[in-house]
Point group: C2
Chain length 419, copies 2
């Protein structure tokens, strides 16, 4: 135990030291490193695939599910994909040094806010080894050091990827500790990592709700997190029915296993009789099982009866809760009570209700006449996504490179003193 602690503390100290140098790197140096990393991953693909094979062998021995093994597996195609992702990150604008605003005070002081890196970022994640390269690249681009702690089932793959990235850092005389993978699979290592408030500025867990809750409970470091996505679509009276069906079908079925998929459909009672049969037809064709409130079941007698638990449920599956509401106020109150602050959409033709929905629903992403599936860093134009936050501090919603920075005040004076 004490040995694990020492090893993790040492990693933290190294990361902190590296972060000071990283904060000062020029945009060119960071871009050069990321381009070189993209190339090095492809060059070293045989080694990475070999190490990944060791993880796969062990996974099969342990009897992991085919889905988990699939998420874990790397081949030339996936490595080229990871490499392409790094090239894209290399091409993004550097957020560091950007002056977000600047103003002049009556005493002549010119005050500005300048973006700077957060410092050291800890990422705790589950099996996908592509996160190792992707998160490391986003942290490097934003001038942060990173400590990565992936799932034990991907340990050899993660270490292999990190070795390639660190080789590039060394070649370019950049601090090797900018990117570190925790080599210890013991859970104690995560616990020790979460105590390092002196050396790690923020923890970003990526994975299921259980992982995230465990991290929050144990961490002395601020955690940027989202527990779950219970996303709603509200179909308003007078909505374009074709558009509403198209959006609901997309929100529910385009990728049902992700956090921005619709889990509950709210329908204005004035339109329910016309809309629900049409929507249910398409949803059922796509394999979706419906669980409805009483009024829904009057219109769709085949729907199962929804229980209170259904309104809280994040199915992540082809299941949809459906509720008929009296008006938009009831829809908004439902979202407030059962929602997860993730993503909600309204389908409407009413200017006034569109504006009111955008103003009154305080989830991290609120859409008018578009699918909830757009709640994503790439789709919103952030250029990247390091995660998503459904707590309001620091970041709320999909997080891109800017969310890996903070701002400091810079002040140009000419001798001012306070009186």
């Amino acid at each position: 135990m004490a040995e694990i602690r020492l090893q993790i503390v040492e990693m933290g100290q190294k990361a902190r030291r590296a972060s000071a140098a990283l904060a000062r790197l020029s945009s060119e140096a960071k871009t050069r490193a990321l381009v070189a990393m993209a190339g090095a991953l492809v060059e070293n693909r045989d080694m990475i695939i070999r190490e990944n094979g060791r993880d796969l062998e062990k996974a099969r021995e342990l009897g992991l599910s085919p889905a988990m093994i699939d998420r874990l597996a790397l081949n030339e195609g996936t490595i080229r994909g990871i490499s392409a992702g790094l090239s894209e990150i290399a091409a993004l604008p550097d957020p560091v040094g950007k002056i977000t605003s600047m103003w002049r005070r009556p005493n002549g002081l010119v005050v500005g806010r300048m973006r700077i890196p957060l410092g050291v970022i800890g990422i705790i994640y589950e099996s996908r080894p592509n996160v190792t390269a992707d998160a490391a690249a986003l942290c490097l681009k934003s001038g942060n050091a990173v400590i990565l702690r992936g799932g034990s089932e991907a340990i050899q793959s993660n270490l292999a990827i990190a070795k390639v990235l660190q080789g590039v850092l060394l070649n370019l005389s950049l601090p090797e500790a900018a990117i570190q993978v925790v080599p210890i699979t013991d859970r104690e290592a995560v616990h020790e990592m979460l105590q390092l408030e002196e050396f790690i500025d923020v923890i970003i867990p990526r994975g299921g709700e259980e992982l995230i809750r465990a991290v929050v409970r144990d961490s002395r470091i601020p955690v940027i997190k989202h527990y779950k996505g219970v996303c709603h679509v509200f179909v308003d009276a007078g909505a374009d029915l074709d558009m509403a069906v198209r959006i609901c079908l997309n929100a529910k079925t385009q990728r049902p296993g992700v956090c921005n998929a619709m889990e509950t459909l709210l329908v204005h009672e004035d339109i329910a009789g016309g809309f629900l049969p049409a929507a249910a037809g398409e949803l059922r064709k796509a394999g979706v099982a419906l669980r409805g409130c009483e009024k829904t079941r009057e219109i769709l007698p085949d729907a199962e009866a929804a229980t209170e638990a259904d309104w809280y449920a994040e199915y992540l599956d082809l299941v949809l809760a459906v509720r008929v509401v009296r008006d938009m106020d009831e829809a908004v109150a439902h979202i407030e009570k059962y929602g997860s602050l993730h993503t909600e959409a309204i389908v409407t033709r009413s200017y006034e209700r569109a504006q009111r929905f955008l103003a009154e629903v305080n989830s991290s992403t609120v859409l008018v006449n578009a699918s909830t599936r757009f709640s994503d860093g790439f789709e919103l134009g952030l250029g990247a996504e390091i995660g998503i936050s459904t707590t309001k501090l620091h970041a709320f919603g999909p997080m891109g490179l800017e969310e890996l920075t903070t701002t400091k005040f810079i002040i140009y004076g000419n001798g001012q003193v306070r009186t």
Copy 2:
């Protein structure tokens, strides 16, 4: 114990319910409430002064220091001052609803970021009862509910002020639970408050380092904090000596007991022989005791010898640590090692070093040719100050109304779905 817990949980639930209504209040409604509160405090001054008298009586019985009693005391003048503060907050622009940026995606989606309140804010502070009104007003203006927990020595004063503010809320049919003062002086109440992650979004402690460390240790809610301010002024080679003396004198002596006062002076060796005697003369005239490094003491033999502990010290007093450095790199390295990320200034005539200092020093406020004392929400033009953060998440440096908000994504579509 269980009873305290229940009472605090109930306050949390009420605050959470109030916060939904507060988030939707119009700017006019908030301004009207704040103007009415400013008036009501003056109207009810006799009651407030009487209740404050009960706190003062108890403070004298307990033998509190004259300084503490002074901080606690309210009279007509201080109440009019608090009232004027509320009128100023009423006149500030409403941060809620502001679109901080907006852009168009290739698929026609228009994506914006809109400021919304954080939700419920917990403030934990020491004796000054003016914080009760001031913090409550800033939270109301930014659409947040607030739970205030002041020092036990000010309990009657705080409850009296809250009663007046809540009276205004009731009169205007606004949720009374928008502003709550914890009526329990038992320390257990703070502990229970810090467990309410479901109902409180952020904790802002205001007080000494000990209070803040205790809050951070105990809190399950994110804490915005600053432990201490070990602020530096670096006087560069070739600096305007008169300006340098003026800035150092102001930074050290204008109000030595506050966190943005200079604690360590760093002097370039090329200028030390000319600058230090002049600066020391003025500083000593103002009663400042100097503790110097060896090189400093060669020039100022009367200065006490500084020990390693002096470089870490936040004196909050007329004491100054002085170190002669070889160049700016050594100054920056000193700040990195011993600083508190609060505020640092350079006095220089060099364009290049001014720019480098601003870029390389990643404290929350970095100044060129101005006193560290400007690191303050009002002085920087934020219009208000709810506190100061020396940790980088969410806010870094002085915090105004905007720092009591977050942003959500709002998206205008016309039927877009993901493919």
